[in-house]
């Protein structure tokens, strides 16, 4: 089965092909099953959950963006930026962080339904993937991003952006570059949080600010950064990152307290500073 899955021919099926096969061979789950439901306990003792599964999953920016969409009409267009002529770092640590921020920019462009910017970001993603040595892993997905943007199929663009990031992280992990894989996620989270705080601070309300309540993610990032190899940890940008994230952590740790506007401003300041350090905007960048 793994052989089958690894065959490149199966790496990007066309939607029509998948749909046709679905109709031919997959009956819906409910048609071939019988219900065997049970009654779960209403309350569990979370302190006894010793067999927890590694770190919390890092959400892609579109998860929080979608939630924000339901709390009003965020001005997504003003948050999208495209750094077409941005420099491409030669250090993989920096490249990985930058890759994560650019994918996050892609999710922002999707929220803004800006096909032109989605396509530009898709091309930039491919450039960075090439610099990371994983071009072949993502080229089909970046092509799909561009095609889906042309059709205005935003859900498909989101899916393909997630797949692109997933492919790059998988490829890095296969190359024993787990640190870089984690830096991709951290870069994406930072850019997503910068955009989130930028929107919330301009039109503050407590419900919107509550989306920043992500303490376990910050703990996960801290654990990940602490367990990276010495060379990565000695990198000035990574050190700056760790310090910035440590500053954010206490600001969002209290689940019972509202995150006020000042706190949102502070988080925005920290994340903007970090994103600028990762991805200095060129003169031709379009905000």
């Amino acid at each position: 089965m793994k052989l089958l899955l690894n065959m490149p021919v199966f790496s990007r099926p066309s939607l029509a092909f998948v749909t046709a096969l679905s109709l031919l061979c997959v009956a819906p789950v409910r048609a071939e099953t019988k219900d065997i439901g049970g009654n779960p306990p209403q309350k569990i003792d979370v302190s006894k959950l010793r067999t927890q599964v590694e770190d919390v999953v890092i959400p892609v920016p579109s998860e929080v963006f979608k939630a924000l969409d339901k709390l009003g009409t965020p001005p997504w267009a003003s948050e999208v930026r495209v750094n077409e002529k941005g420099s491409t770092p030669s250090v993989r640590t920096h490249l990985s962080l930058l890759f994560g921020t650019v994918v996050a920019d892609g999710f922002l462009a999707v929220q803004a339904k800006d096909a032109d910017k989605v396509k530009k970001i898709g091309r930039r993603v491919l450039e960075l993937a090439t610099a990371l040595g994983v071009r072949s892993n993502v080229i089909s997905h970046t092509q799909s991003i561009i095609e889906a943007a042309d059709k205005g199929d935003w859900n498909e663009v989101r899916t393909e952006l997630d797949k692109t990031q997933g492919e790059v992280k998988s490829a890095m992990e296969q190359l024993k570059d787990r640190d870089y894989s984690e830096l991709v996620s951290i870069g994406g989270w930072l850019r997503g949080t910068e955009a989130l705080t930028s929107i919330v601070r301009k039109d503050y309300n407590a419900d919107r600010a509550e989306l920043l309540h992500q303490p376990d993610l910050l703990l996960t990032f801290d654990r990940q950064l602490n367990s990276m190899n010495d060379r990565t940890r000695r990198d000035a940008l990574v050190a700056k990152l760790q310090s910035g994230l440590a500053e954010i952590r206490p600001l969002i740790a209290n689940a019972d307290a509202d995150i006020n506007k000042d706190t949102v401003e502070r988080i925005n300041g920290i994340t903007s500073d970090l994103v600028r350090a990762i991805s200095p905007m060129s003169a031709t960048s379009t905000p």
């Binding site: 899955l5 099926p13 096969l21 067999t51 927890q52 599964v53 959400p59 998988s170």
Partner: protein, 163 residues
């Protein structure tokens, strides 16, 4: 991807194709060995109806194997305002598995949940699903469990989607 806990074990697009293929091939492979990979294809099969209903599938997946009666907790960040479906699968015939969603204080918060067994003449296997519309943004626990199985350890896979 990790053995007992693996994310990104397989890419969903590839898994979907494999799943589709298995729809044809499963009757021809009754003695195929159960694996986490196969279980993930069951999980993807289970979540397919929600994807068709507009949910967006996440790339991150989990998988492992568990003895009967032992639960495993997965910590997960959920956002108020979103709807989530988590679907679990195993290809072990006659097994019963479950996934349930608790908040950070240990309260059951799922909106809906179900467990289903695939008919033996359709290849066997089992599915479970749970949905939640979080009332607060924060950390939640997904509790996965093998309730019944003839195997000493039962492989399972879990995927999720949001909208």
């Amino acid at each position: 991807m990790k053995r007992c806990f693996s994310r990104r074990l397989l890419q969903p697009a590839s898994l979907l194709i494999c799943l589709l293929g298995l729809g044809l091939l499963r009757p021809l492979l009754p003695f195929a060995r159960a694996t986490v990979d196969d279980s993930l294809t069951f999980a993807l099969e289970a979540i397919d109806e929600y994807i068709k209903a507009g949910y967006t599938l996440r790339e991150d997946t989990w998988g492992g194997d568990l003895p009967v009666g032992e639960a495993k907790a997965i910590t997960h960040q959920l956002f108020k305002g979103n709807d989530y479906w988590f679907c679990m699968g195993t290809d072990v015939k006659g097994a019963k598995i479950s996934v349930h969603i608790y908040d950070g204080d240990g309260n059951l918060v799922e909106e809906k949940s179900w467990q289903k067994e695939k008919e033996a003449n359709k290849g066997g296997g089992a599915f479970a699903g749970a949905s939640v519309k979080p009332k607060r943004t924060g950390t939640y626990f997904l509790i996965v469990k093998v309730e019944k199985s003839a195997e000493e350890r039962t492989p399972w896979g879990l995927v999720y989607a949001y909208k």
